[in-house]
Structures are given as structure tokens and as C-alpha cells.
Point group: D2
Chain length 440, copies 4
Amino acid sequence: MKPVQPLGEEKVFKDPVHNYIHVQDRLIWTLINTPEFQRLRRIRQLGTSYLTFHGAEHSRFSHSLGVYEITRRIISQFERGGYEDWPREESLVALCAALLHDLGHGPFSHSIEEAFDMDHEEWTCRILLGDTEVNRVLEEAETGLAERVASVIRKDYEKPIVVNLVSSPLDADRMDYLLRDAYFTGVNYGTIDVDRILRMLRPHNGRVVVKESGMHAIEDYLMARYQMYWQVYFHPVTRSSDIVLRQIFRRAKELFDQGFAFKFLPYPLPALFEGNIQVHDYLLLDEALVQTAFMQWTREDDEILADVCHRFMQRRLYKYVETDLIDLETIDSIRNEFARVGLHPQYDLEIDFPTDLPYDVFRPGDPKKEKQILLLDRQNRIQEISEVSDIVRSISGIHRGRYHLYYPQDKLEKVIHQLSEEVAAIFENKINPPQMEFEI
Amino acid sequence: MKPVQPLGEEKVFKDPVHNYIHVQDRLIWTLINTPEFQRLRRIRQLGTSYLTFHGAEHSRFSHSLGVYEITRRIISQFERGGYEDWPREESLVALCAALLHDLGHGPFSHSIEEAFDMDHEEWTCRILLGDTEVNRVLEEAETGLAERVASVIRKDYEKPIVVNLVSSPLDADRMDYLLRDAYFTGVNYGTIDVDRILRMLRPHNGRVVVKESGMHAIEDYLMARYQMYWQVYFHPVTRSSDIVLRQIFRRAKELFDQGFAFKFLPYPLPALFEGNIQVHDYLLLDEALVQTAFMQWTREDDEILADVCHRFMQRRLYKYVETDLIDLETIDSIRNEFARVGLHPQYDLEIDFPTDLPYDVFRPGDPKKEKQILLLDRQNRIQEISEVSDIVRSISGIHRGRYHLYYPQDKLEKVIHQLSEEVAAIFENKINPPQMEFEI
Amino acid sequence: MKPVQPLGEEKVFKDPVHNYIHVQDRLIWTLINTPEFQRLRRIRQLGTSYLTFHGAEHSRFSHSLGVYEITRRIISQFERGGYEDWPREESLVALCAALLHDLGHGPFSHSIEEAFDMDHEEWTCRILLGDTEVNRVLEEAETGLAERVASVIRKDYEKPIVVNLVSSPLDADRMDYLLRDAYFTGVNYGTIDVDRILRMLRPHNGRVVVKESGMHAIEDYLMARYQMYWQVYFHPVTRSSDIVLRQIFRRAKELFDQGFAFKFLPYPLPALFEGNIQVHDYLLLDEALVQTAFMQWTREDDEILADVCHRFMQRRLYKYVETDLIDLETIDSIRNEFARVGLHPQYDLEIDFPTDLPYDVFRPGDPKKEKQILLLDRQNRIQEISEVSDIVRSISGIHRGRYHLYYPQDKLEKVIHQLSEEVAAIFENKINPPQMEFEI
Amino acid sequence: MKPVQPLGEEKVFKDPVHNYIHVQDRLIWTLINTPEFQRLRRIRQLGTSYLTFHGAEHSRFSHSLGVYEITRRIISQFERGGYEDWPREESLVALCAALLHDLGHGPFSHSIEEAFDMDHEEWTCRILLGDTEVNRVLEEAETGLAERVASVIRKDYEKPIVVNLVSSPLDADRMDYLLRDAYFTGVNYGTIDVDRILRMLRPHNGRVVVKESGMHAIEDYLMARYQMYWQVYFHPVTRSSDIVLRQIFRRAKELFDQGFAFKFLPYPLPALFEGNIQVHDYLLLDEALVQTAFMQWTREDDEILADVCHRFMQRRLYKYVETDLIDLETIDSIRNEFARVGLHPQYDLEIDFPTDLPYDVFRPGDPKKEKQILLLDRQNRIQEISEVSDIVRSISGIHRGRYHLYYPQDKLEKVIHQLSEEVAAIFENKINPPQMEFEI
């Protein structure tokens, strides 16, 4: 690899979470200015959460800079400490991977991935290795660098500590998103002492581990994560908007497959629907385009599509009732009843279980080594954190998830008297008045 | 007016700036849920500033809630204090006006207003009084209420104190935007002690005035405003993006007027270009649509349009040089030289003077009474603040603005050796290396 | 009771934790200005913790104002909500009890209580009911008020909800000290969302309970408490300074009992040593006096007293080793060895077990009702929090406490080679190098 | 000088203002642990301000660590930047001087200096050079180091840039106290962007100067200073407590000089009164001793001394009236009237002019070079900041100070009807009701 080319003078970005993001290498600066990286400004970090927490309008661009910055601080600490287990020559690869790890996210990524069976990590690699400016910039810095960065993303890089640094239960990605999502939503449960955690990290035998005396800081970090999951990421109103979003994608695809004549179907949406979109066109996808399509589709002739688009754009989301257990039979009978009274058995009812989610809940004692958080004691012995911490063990008990039935209350109200008593009772559940829940 | 209908239980929104936004009246709750108000989620509060400060991705929706909340706190303090000069029966009108004052903003409002000669306050009134849900909700609460709110916005409402509360140099609008823009950009100069300011406000003789002992808090507020103007609102990189944006609008309109066959010109853009857009269609305009148009226009056949759209979407902005004074003759000679070497004399050169701006700089001692900040002393005498405070007087001296010449550096570089020596010298100005400036 | 006399205009104190402390009643204002309450300025909130966390120099005066302010906010919320279970006529009694609950604390209270077998709650009552200005002010407001406030402190007041508001696992006292101690130490684990908790509190059947939807906020509060215990309150360096402090008190009392001729023993210390100090003299005790005595005692002729005073004043604290289990026999053998080599068997060795502490660790599922935190669900049913929350249950498992042996390292070093191998091994424990621990 | 001995592992102190204070050199660690430095824990940073702002209980110990930390960051930036104008071999001297610069402060320093004609900088040097542990530690590190550090304090060190770094209008001392005093009082006007300022500092030709692009950050810093002066340092209630304090010192000295038989006059107060206190005894002076003396003196037989001590300990301060101008004749006539009606002509009346203060107000354009703040432009030219900034120029106009007459209101009330009409009018001034002012 060519020696790193420093910038004449360090550049900074003002960042509300880390105060300043420091850029010292020309390569990082150039990567930030590629169109592929700039596109992340048009993908929100938290998808539809802004419909629940109005401050959550921040983008993956900000987050990616934050992940880069935390990684930079960790590496800088490793270098200052002179730890032999950190391979100094890997610093720039690690920084590039940290910066670029979210490059493949599409608009409202988790929903679109589900609807079109895509995977953002795979797309990150396609963009890194395809005919893109990011690829050219990396290859110009050093032949083979793009492939090395992709390999870190794919988790098969030859130096496992680089993979571990960029992707583990205590990585810069999670630290930044906890802090950032807490900052922008205003939910202060996510405030962690990142300085203290960073001080406690050590490279050790192909892993990033934590000094034992940092255990309480890690407990605090995991509690913050747990709280953010329940308060923010799994919030039922956000789930409701995700459901409506998924219905839009599903309906549009159904119509497309049926040869429906869309009034508005701009480039490159047809390729997306056909399932053969290429890198160059994938990069044209952003949330502006998707929202514009939704807005225009409120004027399409298909009633279902127009309705769900209206709901999304004007935040007329589905309400929900919570239930402990529900069997397939009951669901069938609800759908039948719905059909009988003129509701749509699929589009007017969605069953949701909170943990069917793309978020990666930390499971203490996970047998997969790369999903563990390891403590390093004074005799240089390693222990998995849940062996030591009761708090951490207890966090695993996330059995609180309950089924939620989502439905359009305005439509249901008109026909509820026609439903069978049993089915009506489920939705009339006074125990859990939906409007209360919709308060944040 | 019907008695205010309280909500069963107070509702709250989690807000990173004010912690919680409290909604106590059903009318306010219903207004927030109208499509016209929800549309503000798709208009950024700070236009293109997110290209300079990546955190500045917050919307006018958040800001409008914040203005409502500060107004609610002021009124609540007036009511608790039992001040006779506050007409209690006007509280709800004031809250509605505070909440809805930005309803008429278009996408990238200041640039679009300039390009299409529109005015957002006028549009706010058209939306309030037109065939809209906001109008229906207000009129249902009380006949004539929509007109009363519009009248507050137009500043001709019969009770001047309501106008003054909603629009003055020390109004809830300015207090919220200073705090909010500081929070989201991360620039901490805008942090003001809003609790203290609110404690010091008094209704007095048709005006909202400040107790004399609050003078230092006001000095601090005005300094924060001054700092935010120079650090954030007038930032030269933001100016550069505004300029590119304006060029897009200008070029697209020129092409439309010439009958250019756009590949992409979705509804309701033609009406916008024709200058006869109606309320219903105006409400379809948002930043998603505009950004989508820009993205699609990168593929139009007109080279100028494609170029400026590319620049905006990929943040390849114009660079600039700063100059103290420039006369029309010099500008003409630059434009001529540009034309001679194949640059576009208009699109490749823009002259900017910072104070040509939609921001309302506070001018101490302004003869217009409604632009003054008044102090109330212990003998109930009134003084204009700049009579008392040296700091405030000094802020008026904003003569620091200098001319900036913006241009596409990549294009210029290729031809700079062909330019006359005098003109080349202006752009080769080593005194002010543009790349340094582009650091935040 | 006389009607509450409002102040002409609300008074405020600027407070770094709550921003402003609002005083609306003349009685509260007058109580704050009594000499008994002003004395709390000279008693530190966290005893010797400032020797570990240098910022922890705040006093019980600040804390008492904070407890008053949180109580005021809770009551104000109860009153605004119009809940029938809150007896409005008790508001002022509750505010007085909140403000005055710490009045009886002596200098370095927990250590002095232990050394002289005193109890601060008992002293609070003695001050409330004795010949003091606080007593006069309360009685002037209403005959019998002093006794009513004392009764709340003693927890036998006739309205149990008032007792519960002022003293429970979720009271204003604990909320203020978590926030305040976190703020002044700089340890950010104690940051709780007090606004959210307050919104969730409800008066219910003689208790203050929490709405079920506030469960996560309570989990967060209990985690913050747990973290503060381990990071701050039980910090081994603080324990070390407490131990040295206790030794000073113990030695001085021994000497006094033996008729030692102190060069410095100012009024009213003799009465304290004799165990018959009266209210008037008790109020002369403060940390200035105690520290001055310690400083002067560095010049006394008793070597032990001079040594421990020196250590405390110059922060030359005892070091420690940690051990899992230790039996009485081992301790005896250490003490014997110490005596043999010329160390003092008592003063040069102290055994400490972290949970022998005045702090009230929350124990989920405590059978004592007044120590429980209760959740109120939508059917108005009550549940103890640990029945619902795994996290809370896990916090009970505080079995992490280990024995610590404290000793003067400088003295020990000189004689360690003379000790038996077994005893020396305990202190040479390389596993746990003390100097590392002394880093915060 | 011996090569710097690094600590095995960096040590940190948790600090609420800077998050962590990093100690890397063994010498710094050892200095912190000397008794002379630990004594600073018993001297408050803001003297009597805690009687106005109850949070202001922080000590010079915390502040000194903060000054050290900021200096460390500045030097570290200078070293990373590789600027030739910074003499790297001076780093440790500068760090020592930063850490130790306040060593000579006595209890309630400004008041005691005034009463006993002492100077804390002189005392700092006496402690550095005397028979103290600080001296031994410095000399052990390198012969002559104590003298070098003292020379920096005396501002005659051979390398002017070291003096400038430690003492200038933009030094680490001022930056830390603004941040710290703002933090502990809760007054948020003092919040400055210290990271940004540090990034902008450059060593240049024997001075620390500021890059021109940091001008707004400096304006903000100077505004924060201006605000803190008026809101905190010159607060009239603090002035009142300073006045009472000075009266105590003055009266005690008068009595001592008259041979009064004090019941309580512990070592080393006699030496202080005699004006011949030596270093060893000076170090026994702290605020605990002084407060204990005041408390005991409330029981002395001299009525004046007992009264002012009572007032100070119980915060029964003097009230004040404000007046624009006052001539000596008027003052004489007030004193005469006071004497006539039985008030004490000196102790019951004090005249105060706010700018008679130990605080060092920044005066833009000061001809003394070392009191200037210099900007460095891109051509490496230097400009004094007030030549460039209007804001800074305006701050010089601090003519707002007005005379204040302080007096014991309780005493005055009893005799005011006996005073001449003119004199009574001054104190009955309804224009400026004192009780209002005493609100913060």
C-alpha cells in the first residue's frame, strides 16, 4: 500500500454528537466526496422513526461519519498504547471499512430489503467493487484496496481483528448509532460514556476486548441499547409506519407484475420491480424518489395503492391492539370476518411480533464467538461478560414481545357492528385503548 | 368562540430541544394531524445548510412544534401572572398562529421564492383560507377562526399584542430556531437561556416587553443570533449551494419557457413554471419532489441543466473568492473574458453579497416600532434596548459582508491560462485559498 | 392552618441541576433563610467522596433545595391532574418536610453517626421541635406545624401518602441525589429522565405509584442508582477516606475518655465526646469545625491521632487488597503479626465489606410495602415492579461485594519482610495491585 | 532536565467540565499529591459566591487540575502540529506552572489579600521556593526547576511564550474558570467552544496567537467573559458578602492590635494578624479555619465582631441601594447622620464601586502587549483583535458600574425616621427595592 497521504492540514466536520469529526488522510476526504457516499444524505438513519420521534430526521451520512470518527479514536488509542496485537498497517483499511460500511443501504432499507429480497451488505460490496467512483478512488490509492475493504464488510478478511473492530457487539457502528439516535430523538436513555469505553478497549489475540475494570461501563452500554430497542427501535407507532410502507411496496409490485399502467413510474423503478437492478441504477434510489413515487401514487387508479400511500404521506397510520397469544385459526377467522364485511383480509390486517426485526439484540452467552463481548482481567485471562455480570445476563430475557394486530381504525369503525362478537371484542379491547398508545 | 376542548389527558411529543412538547387542546392536536401540517416534515428548516453542517437535516415540522411550545409557555406564564395586559381570550388564536405560521413554505423556500417570485406568508394565508383540512378544522372549532389566524400572520389582527407575540425580534419563532439550529448543526453559539428570557417577558400596552433586569439575557440572545448568522446562516458553503440551486430553478424555467421537452416533469411542476399553481397543487410540492426532479434532470439533454443538477446532488459546489469591492465594469469584463474562453458568462459566475438574504438581522434602534426590543423598568417606563446596551448597539455594525464571486473551479482550471492576467489574478488569489474556506 | 401566604413575586434560585428552583410560598422562603437551614451549606452532600471525585464538593444545602423543587413539581402535577387521592391541604406540609428532611445531618454524617452513635433523622426532629428559629417559623405559620413536619420525617404522619411522597424508593430525595451527585462528580451514569418519571407518578390509595407505561423509565432509574452505588458511593478510595475519618473520631474519643490534654478542643466538641450535646450546640457542628480540629490535631502529642489526621488532611489514604472470603482466624493472625512487627493491630488494619453502608440499596420484591415500587396498570391494578421487570429483578443480585483490607502502605512496606510468609502474601497480592485501583 | 518519566499507564481524574483530566508524567502526579496542592481543596474557587449561587462550592483544586488539562491539550496540539515556534523542551515547565499557579491563594483570597495586604502570586513563589514538599519534588526532578516555574509565575521567564501560554487574556486559566464557574453556578453564559479555540491557537514569535478564522470563537469567548462578570463575579449579593467578610477581618485585626482577649484565636492566626506569617504556617490557613474562627467569634464579647460574624455565617447580608454618582460630602453627611442616630459610621455603611475588583476585565486595544489578543492572518500578519471586531471594541465600554451603598437593613429600619429627610430618602429609594435585587 502506498504510504498514507496526509492532508495539508487536518480537516474537520462539525458534528453535534462528537463535536468534531477529524479527517487526516486524503483518501478519507476523497471518499467522503464521492457521489456514492454523498447519496447517504438521502437515506434516513432510522427509516420511518421520524413519524414517531419528529427529531429523528438524521441520515446515514452523519452516522457513517460518526462510525468513522469512533473507529479513528479507537485506532489512535491502540497506536498510542503501542499494543502489539494491533496491526498498524491495517489502520487505513479499517477506517475505510468503518466509513463505507453502510454504502449499500437503500431507501427505508429494512422495509425495501424485505419487500424485494435484497441485502444491504451485499450491495455495499457490489458498490465497492463495481464501476463506481468509490472503487476508482480506493484502487487509485492502492491496487486491491477495494477488495480488501469489501472483505472486511463480508467478514472474511484475513486479519480477524479488523473485522472484529468494524463489526462486533461493541463496535463503532453500535456506539455511534446509540449516541446519535438518542441525540436526535431526544430520548436520553442512549447516552453512554463513550470516552470511558474507548479507554477500556484493548486489542487482544485477534479480538477487541474490554479491560475488566470497564465492566460497569459495558453494563451501562448494554442497558442503553436495551432501552433504545424498547423505547425507540421497536416503538409500535414506528412498526405501524413500517407496515404501511411494506404494504405500499407489496401492492406496487403486485400491480407491476399484473401489468398495471402506472401514471408515474420513473427510472429506475421498473428495474427494481423486475428484480434485475444494476449498481449504477441502484445508486439512483433514494428516499426522495420513493417519497415522490408515493405522493404521485396517491393519484393512481388502484384504490388500495392510493389508500396506503395517502396513509403514509399524511401519517394516517394503522392503530393496533396488543395480545398475548394468537393462533392461526383465530387469525383466519378474523380475516374471514373482515372479507365478509368488505374489508380487505390482507391489507386491512397485519400481524406483527416485535422481535421479527432487523435489529441485532445482544444475547449474552451467545455461542458464536464473534457475537460475544469479552473481558480481559489483570492476569490476561478472558471471560465472556455474562459470566461475570448479573445485569447483562438479565438483559437476555427479552420475552416481553407480544403480538400486535394492526388495522385501519377508520375503516374498521364503520363495520365493526357487523363483525362477529368474538372478533369485534378483540378490537374493542378497552383494556388497551389504542389512542393512548400512540402517544410517545 | 366555543370553549376550548381539552384533551382527555395531555399529550406530549418527545423533542430534543424542549424535552417535551405539551398539547392540551384538542384543536392543536387535530391541526398537527392535518395533511397540510404533516407536509412540513418534507421541508427542511435550514434549506441547503445540511450540505455544510451535516446534522442540519431537521424539518419545519419540528420547528413549528417548537414555536408552538415556546408560545404556550409564554402564554401560560402570562396567565399565571394574571397580567391584565394579556387578553386571555386570545390564547388559542395565538397558539394556532404560532403552530401554523410556516405552513406556506415551499421546498428550499428562500430559493424557490426568489426563482418564482412567491411569498411564504401569503401562501400560509392561502392555505389557511383555502379548501384545505386546516381550514375545515379551524372553522369547525369556531366560525371565522381561520380568518383570525390569517390576520395574525398578515400582522393586521385587531389585537396588536397577539401579532407582537407571534412576530417580533424576540418572538417564539426566533427563539426556537436559534436553539434548534444550534442543536442540530452542533454549533453551540446559539444556546440561549430561554427559561430566563421567558421569565422576563411581560405583556405591556399591546406589546411583549422585557423586564429591565433581563437585559443581559437579551444581550446574550442577540449575540447568539449574530453568531449564528455568521457561523451558520451566511456560511459561504451554504451560499454556494443556494446559488447552484437557484441556477437549477432558473435554467429549468428558461427551458420550460422555450418549450423544452423535459423527460421528467411530474405534476404539479408545469403549473409552478407557468406561475398559476393553485393551493391544492402547491401542497404537493415538497423537497422529495424537487430532489427527485433534480436527480432525473441529471439525465436531461440540456448540458447546463444536467451540470448544475449533478453538482447539487453530488455536492460538487462552486468555489469562491472574496473581494472587498467590485464595480460593474469589472464584473462585465470578467463575464466577457469568460465568454471568450468558452465559459458561460452567467451560469459560470455568480456575484453574492452576504446580506442579500432572507434573514432578518436585528438592527438596534430601528425606527419601526414592531422591530424594536423594549425594556420595562421598575417605574414602568419603556426604553428601546440599544439606548441602554453598548453590546447591542455594536451588533448593528454588520458591515463585515464582502462580495463573493462563485464559480465552478473544475471548469475554470482548464481555461484559466487563457484568461487575461487581470481576470486570472482575481481567481488565483492566493490570499484566500478557497479550499481552506470550505472547511467548516 | 393559615392560608398559604404567597410571595409578592415568585423567587428563584439558579440551580445547575434543575435550572431554577421556584419558591412561591413565603413560608418556604423564610425557612431557607433560617440559620439551621443555612448551616447545611457547611455539610457536604457526599462526605469524603470529594477525595475521590474532586467535583463532589456540593453541600446538603443544594441537595435540600433540589428535593424541595422535585417535590414541588410532583405536587403541582398532582394538583393540575386533579387526582382525588392527593390531599391538597397537605401540600405545604409535604414541601416543608422535603426541604427540611436533612436538617439533622452532622459533619461527615455517616462517619460521625457511627462513631458517636447518633441518628440524623432523630436530630432533624429535635431541631424541628427544639428552641430553634426553624421551629418558631413553622409554629408562627400554624400552631402544630413543626410537629406535623417532624411526624412526616418520623414516618408516622396520619396521611401515609405524605410520608410516601417524602420517603420511598422513588422519592424526590433519591431523584435529586442521583442527578446531583452525577452532575458534580461528572459520572454520567446517574442521568435519569426525571421529567418522564414525574409525568408517570400518580397518587393512589395512600401511595405514590407509577403508571405502567413508565416502567422503562423506572428500570433506567434503578440502573442509574445501581451504577452510582458501584461507581461512586461504594468506591474503594472513598471507603478508605471514610475509614481514616472513623479512626480519627475513634482515637480522639479514646483520648478524651482517658483525660488526654488536647491542645485544641473548641466548643462544643467536649459535649459531643461526652455524649450529651444539646440542640443549640449541635448546630455549631459543621465540616469547617471538624476539618479545623483535624488540622490542629496534626500537632497533638498523640502519635496515632496526629498520623491519621495528617493522612486525612493531605489525602495520604490507606491502600487496600481485595479478598473473596476471610475468616476471623485469619484476621486475628494478621493482627497478631502486625503487633509483632510493631504495627498497630487495630489502627493499621481495617476490614471493610462494601455493603456495610448507610446507602439504601433497592431490593426488588422487598416484603416491606413502603420499600416497594408499585406500577399501576390500565385497569387500576397494582403490581410490584420486580414481578414485571427482569432487569429490576436482576439488580437485586448485588452479591459482588468483596472484603477489603485497608492498611497504611508506607508503614507496611518497611516491615513486610518481617511478616510471616502467609500474611505477607495477602498484601503482596500482585493480582490486585492497589495503585491501579486508586485511579478513578 | 532529566528526561520526563512517564507513568506506567496514563492516570485520569474524572472531571465534570473536561470529562477526564489526563496525567502522563510522574512529576505531575507527584505534585498533585503534595500537601501544598491538596490544601487547595479547602479554598473555594469563587470565594463567597456560593452565598449567591448555591452550586458555586467548587475549589481551586478542581480549577487547577482544569488549567493543567487545557494547557496539556494546547501543548499537545502544538507538538502534533510540529510548529517551530513552540520550544518542546519547555513543555513540562509550562505544565507545572499551569498546575501550580494558584498555590499561593489564601482563604477567601481576594478579601484576605485586601485586609492583610498580601499577594497570592508572591505567595505562590514563596511556596515554590520555600521549605516545602512541592519544592523538594520539583528539585528532585531537576535542579533549578522550582525557580524556573516561579519565574514563569513572576512573568520574567526567559522564554516569553511560556509566560504567555500560562498568563494572557486567552490563557488556560481564564478558559477553565469560565467553563467551570458556568458549570457549577448553572449560569450558562460561560459556555464556550473550547475545542474550537484550542484548534485555532498557534505559537508565533514568542506569543500564542489565534488564527484569523477563529475570530468569532474569540468574540464568543469575550462575550461569555463579559456576561460572567456582570451575572456572577460582580453580582451585588456576592459583593455584599465580600463586604461583610472584609469587615470581619478588619474588626478582628483592630481588636488584635488593641490587645483584645480573644476566646478563640488558634494557631497560626496571631502571626497573620502580626503580619509576619511564614510559609509553613501560611499553609495551615484554609477556609475551614477561617469559617471556624467566624463561628467561634459569634461568641466573642465585642459586639461589632460578633454581629458581622453572625451575619456572614447565617447569610444575613447587607442590603444595598444603587446610585449614579455620589460625592464625598454626601458620604460624610450620611456617616454623620448615622453616628447621630446610633449607627456605626463605618461598619454600618460601605460604599462599593463594582470595578474596584480583582477581576481582570479584558480591555480591547490595551497598549500593553501582553494584555492583547492577537489574530494571525493567512499572510502571517498579526492584528490586535479590536482592530477587526466591532463586538470586541464595544465590550470595552464597561461604564455600567454604579455606586452601591451597602448597609444592615434591620438596624437601619429602626432608626430611619430619625434620619434627616435627605439621607433617609437615599435609603428609602423605592426606585430600587433591595429585596428584588436579592433574587438571583
